[in-house]
């Protein structure tokens, strides 16, 4: 079981690094959501199910939706609009 946790932590690190290295905002947002989901599994392994529930609802659900809406408002939702702005 401990190896699963190591795997999850490595995945978290990869997600965290790739969020800042990705150029496309939409893709980095989706990676951020994946980070939150994996983090909620890690909370389960650390025996705090209440935090896991909150992380899944707030981190993966509400926060990413707010980010998506903001992206839509500033017009960076798709690659095409992105290149038009430059």
């Amino acid at each position: 079981m401990i190896y699963v946790q190591y795997l999850l932590v490595v995945f978290l690190l990869l997600c965290a690094i790739s969020v800042c290295l990705t150029n496309n905002l939409l893709i980095s947002l989706i990676i951020f959501t994946a980070y939150s989901l994996v983090m909620s599994v890690v909370w389960l392994f650390l025996e705090s199910p209440d935090l896991a529930i909150t992380e899944a609802a707030v981190g993966a659900g509400v926060t990413s939706i707010l980010f998506f809406i903001t992206l839509k408002k500033v017009g960076k939702m798709s690659e095409k609009e992105d290149s038009n702005d430059e």
Binding site: D50, I53, T54, A57, G61, V62, I65, L66, T70, K73
Partner: protein, 294 residues
């Protein structure tokens, strides 16, 4: 055609900045002007390079400091950790007797430390109020009518898969959230987690079925009334329990048998209040971000 117009404006801009540079030599400029130049030339390659190197070095220093600090922390799960002192022992041994809550965490945050949780709920309320002040747009009658027309146009165009999926999932999400709020004193979870889940469910409902069907049961007036009622109930009931507790008066609120759903005194109603505030705030944030109203 659009592109040529853009390139034209771009060349015009560059010639303008070029001529401005000619009028003043480097030494005649003030500090602010020089910084403005650096920002203007931000896309130049050498500046990018320096910026990236400095950013990487700074990040490495901060990460090193953090890891160095972590090495001083006691190991996870060690029984001799400083957190395992007489305070936590008191809570674990006498928690059930004092609060009648099986879930220690709920007993802690809604009984021993209920004042903190009131502060947290108020912070959420203030955050929501700030977002309302910043983003809420009072609409004129004309705009409203136009919006209703647009809504009718889009009413059938909500994604079919999303609508049918939401029809299956939303009731389950809402039930799960309500379950977590109501069982806050018995099982992990409580007001905040349950409220966040209910808020996420409401957001999904709104995304799938549109504005009009959400407005039937949730508009700005309900939002105001519900949030203010919940917060004031919390404050008043907690004032009562602080008053009786500080003066050693027997409280009239029964503790009940630990483990029953109707037990542990004020924790259940307070959980419901916190859940309502959190759910309304989450949905309010989404709604204000999306269309600048609730």
């Amino acid at each position: 055609m659009n592109k040529t117009a853009k390139t034209n404006s771009h060349t015009k801009d560059s010639t303008l900045s070029h001529s401005r540079k000619l009028t003043k030599s480097h030494h005649e400029k003030g500090f602010v002007e020089r910084i403005g130049d650096i920002v203007e030339k931000g896309d130049s390659k050498s500046f990018r390079k320096v910026y990236n190197t400095v950013a990487i070095i700074l990040a490495c220093i901060i990460i090193g400091c953090m890891i160095y600090t972590v090495s001083f922390l006691p190991s996870f799960g060690d029984p001799t950790n400083p957190a395992n002192n007489e305070v936590s022992r008191k809570y674990i041994e006498e928690g059930i007797k004092d609060t009648a809550a099986i879930n220690f965490v709920a007993g802690m945050i809604l009984d021993y430390r209920a004042f903190d949780t009131l502060g947290e709920s108020t912070v959420l309320f203030i955050a929501a109020s700030t977002v309302i002040i910043l983003l809420f747009k009072k609409k004129t009658k004309q705009e409203e009518n136009q919006e209703v027309l647009e809504e009718e146009k889009y009413e059938d165009k909500h994604d079919l898969i999303l609508r049918h999926g939401a029809l299956l999932v939303v009731p389950a999400i809402l039930m799960f959230g309500i379950y977590i709020v109501l069982n806050g004193h018995l099982s992990p979870g409580g007001g905040f987690s349950g409220g966040a889940i209910i808020g996420a469910g409401l957001i999904l409902y709104n995304l799938a079925f549109g504005d009009k069907s959400t407005k039937k049961f949730f508009n700005f007036t309900t939002y105001k009334v519900i949030i203010i009622l919940a917060l004031s109930f919390y404050a008043i009931s907690k004032t009562y329990s602080f008053y009786t507790g500080a003066n050693h008066i027997e409280s009239i609120i029964p503790k009940g048998i630990p483990g029953n759903i109707l037990s542990s005194g004020l924790i259940l109603p307070l959980n419901i209040c916190v859940g309502i505030v959190v759910a309304c705030t989450m949905f309010g944030f989404y709604s204000l971000f999306d269309r600048e109203e609730i």
